[in-house]
Symmetry: C2
Subunit: 499 residues, 2 copies
């Protein structure tokens, strides 16, 4: 029986939840199998074949479900954007569901198992044991987690979307909106071609709302909606010492040590509370609105639990996690100089490497960050290079730094008071059976600003995965209960969204 | 014809030089062959068989030359000290010649060729080509260098000593002193058993003077004598962050970053001029004597040439190399946190590692350095651990640092005004035909303090190898002219030393 477009009241919302949950409990192994198969495809930047295979598979998934589908590219050879569209008769709104099918790079030596041979485990910690989920009778333990690169970030979102669609179809529910799908293949590289694809396909991608299926839910495990995300820009800095490693007994105290210079620079960049000390870099920070402050104040307190979970005594500041991530951040993601431990030799290293990422908040831009940092470096006596120094540069300048900037993008916060915004929160809350957590801005970066910039429509985040998923690190994982919740959330936004 | 013990006047010194030089020019291939064979024996800590083979060979070399010889050990299985003694009828002084036959560890991937298959090259730089020295006609190019681990540090000293002995014998010259030899096999491990061997063999090793055949000559390539050496103590510090790597977008600005803490700590330890900022650590620094200052002032200026050689624009301070190495040093020999470059992930690392070595000057001790540093860390809010933190420590303390101290030893400066000191400088200068460079203290560490502490006799350094020998790094090498000069220096101190 195909139902009409009646919007779900409380009773109807409960019925929808029950239908979707019944379908899911009967299809858990199938859904997990889909996530396993998709995660096994090595769709990371270093593996173009894997990226292409994932795009092919996703296009097939959409086609089988009746979507019109295409691969969109701005330049030859780029990982394609998988596009899909399905009209819903009578629907007055069109919603684009965004996700990405590429994953972060992997450092295989740090993984407990092959990142592309997904393994189910009983939990997160070192005591968790492998689970033969295919042999399990009946329901799967919702605390089990599937380990594999991109299992969580961001393939869970894609699998949950498809499962929700299937559940609705099985229940005879028609989507309440016209659906478009944009699944990107190079988000973890900083989305270098996304803007071109969007601009070249503006008519094709026209909509009333973008829903961004990326990022984790609240650390309390409450389902969540977010209205923005910090931007980011990465930077690899190389600081130069002597041409060859020198005995640090014979030359220590006279030959400048690039490790010491790198440490000093890192210490000068931020204070112990994480406040960035480079002048001008925070000039463009937009204050939080009353609605944003109110939403943050309404979040369940999570810091004590996170401190236990992470094994830390306290946060860098007393303002709490969410407020602290409303500020720009300068993260030292890597430091390398000389050798440590068993390999340590008493030598002055030839270079030191400092890897940094900035997290940007509205209205900061990567260009502004770059200009401010480089001006500050020069004012402090650094000679800023874009290649290794030659003999003349070495002879003339004492502090040589080579900067390699990655592509970056600004942060974004959407207006939380629009009709679309209120409708999304309401639909997600009805799907959850309780008010969802409302986050003004994710600490992590998703290129939301771009959709808003190109299409001038509301852009809202729809995260489903667990916060403790090790995304961007080794042993990334997706917790099954989050996948189950995510299916319900997607079903609610497909079948019960209207404004 | 055996000459008597007449001390060399200027004419006699010139005759001795000529005799030794003539012998050497006729025996260059033989001397280089001896250095090649000794370098090919992998006498490093990781290869006990190699260490034993080197000790065996050296004992044979001494026995063949008429020395009484023994292997001395303080504990079973340690690399033995090779001892040798040869009395010279009529000599009133006894001199112990110290050197070590072990080499630094190797990181094979960083070597241009196998560190234990010695290769002769035309020079030092990347353009230097391999040379078939065995096929060379006549004299070898004195700028050629033999590449191999320990070729320079410290097997050149041993080979030069033996060659000098042979040259004197060929010339019918009798040593002017009774000779003792102490060749150690674990200097590069910090000489963990040397003190015990010395104390257990005090009568056997009684002498009027120790000559320490280790370290490089002056960077001007002038032959040199040194009167001390900085001590050293190494330290591996681990700073703890969250239990697992965390997405630095979602948690950056709230979860403390151990890379940032390590950088801040490194920056707090020393100022940009290399002065150590830990209170009390320099309290025990003994001022230079007028004789020491005078000796330093008399050294040929070397900084401009070294700046070119090392590719640096300036030293950390304007005081120059030698004066700067009269101070204690805190060298950052390694930094490790997270990932950099292609592997960089946007994550807060779980630990940061900081590898440090201190260079100690009289009258500092490793115990004092350790106490001062740990007290300072505690005063700055660090919790100092000797093992990884448990959950209780993580919950209670925000700044957790684990320290692993290596064995170390103090620095030493000998009195430059004793009769023995003056006699050594005079004999070395006569052998060189010009005044040698006189260094109050090497920047690098040699456990000289120990000989002085146990025997209360003067201890003086007799270096021969080139400063640009990559000792303690990959592609260690010995320059032939330094080997030739070293033979003459050793011959002078064997046959022309008296006080």
């Amino acid at each position: 029986m195909i139902l009409g477009l009646a919007l779900a009241g409380p009773a109807s919302a409960a019925e929808l939840r029950d239908q979707v949950r019944s379908w899911r409990t009967a299809h858990e192994a199938q859904v997990v199998g889909d996530l396993v198969d998709l995660t096994a495809i090595p769709s990371i930047a270093a593996d173009p074949t894997g990226v292409a295979a994932a795009a092919e598979r996703l296009q097939d998934e959409l086609r089988r479900r009746g979507f019109e589908t295409r691969k969109l590219s701005a330049v030859a050879g780029m990982p394609p954007v998988v596009y899909g569209a399905l009209a819903s008769p009578g629907a007055k709104r069109t919603v684009v569901f965004y996700a990405h099918y590429d994953g972060q790079p992997v450092t295989r030596s740090q993984w407990r198992s092959d990142p592309f041979v997904p393994v189910m485990r009983s939990g997160l910690g070192p005591d968790a044991h492998d689970v033969d989920w295919r042999a399990a009778k009946g329901r799967l333990d919702p605390e089990w987690r599937l380990f594999g690169r991109a299992a969580s970030d961001d393939k869970s979102s894609i699998v949950a979307f498809l499962a929700a669609f299937d559940a609705l179809k099985a229940a005879g529910r028609r989507p309440s909106v016209n659906i478009k799908v944009v699944w990107e293949g190079e988000e973890e590289r900083g989305s270098p071609h996304l803007e071109a694809v969007l601009r070249q396909n503006q008519a094709l991608l026209a909509s009333d709302l973008w829903l961004i299926g990326d990022g984790p839910v609240h650390q309390s495990r409450k389902r969540a909606i977010y209205f923005g995300a910090r931007g980011s820009v990465g930077l690899e800095a190389t600081i130069y010492g002597p041409l060859r490693a020198l005995h640090d007994g014979h030359y220590g105290n006279w030959v400048p040590n690039p490790a010491a210079l790198a440490a000093q620079l890192a210490a000068d960049l931020r204070d112990p509370q994480g406040r960035i000390l480079v002048p001008g870099i925070v000039d463009q920070v937009r204050p939080l609105t009353p609605a944003e402050r109110q939403a943050i104040a309404a979040l369940p307190p999570i810091e004590p639990a996170l401190q236990r979970e992470f094994g830390i005594a306290a946060g860098e500041t007393a303002e709490g996690l969410t407020l602290s991530t409303m500020r720009p951040a300068l993260n030292i993601r890597g430091l390398r100089a000389g050798q440590v431990g068993e390999e340590a030799a008493n030598a002055i290293p030839v270079t030191a490497e400092l890897s940094i990422d900035f997290r940007l908040v509205p209205d900061q831009t990567p260009e502004h960050i770059r200009a401010a940092l480089e001006a500050w470096l020069r004012s402090r006596g650094w000679t800023v290079l874009d290649a290794a120094p030659d003999a003349a540069a070495r002879a003339a300048h004492g502090k040589l730094i080579r900067l390699a900037w990655e592509a970056g993008y600004p942060g974004y916060r959407s207006d939380m008071t629009t009709p679309a915004a209120k409708a999304v929160v309401a639909a997600a809350s009805r799907a959850a059976g309780e008010p969802v957590a409302v986050l003004p801005m994710l600490g992590g970066s998703v290129p939301i600003y771009l959709f808003a910039d190109v299409f001038k429509t509301p852009v809202i985040g729809l995260p489903i995965v667990n916060h403790d998923n090790n995304q961007h690190a080794a042993n990334e994982n997706a917790r099954l209960q989050n996948l189950w919740d995510g299916i319900e959330t997607y079903a609610g936004l497909l079948a019960d969204l209207s404004w």
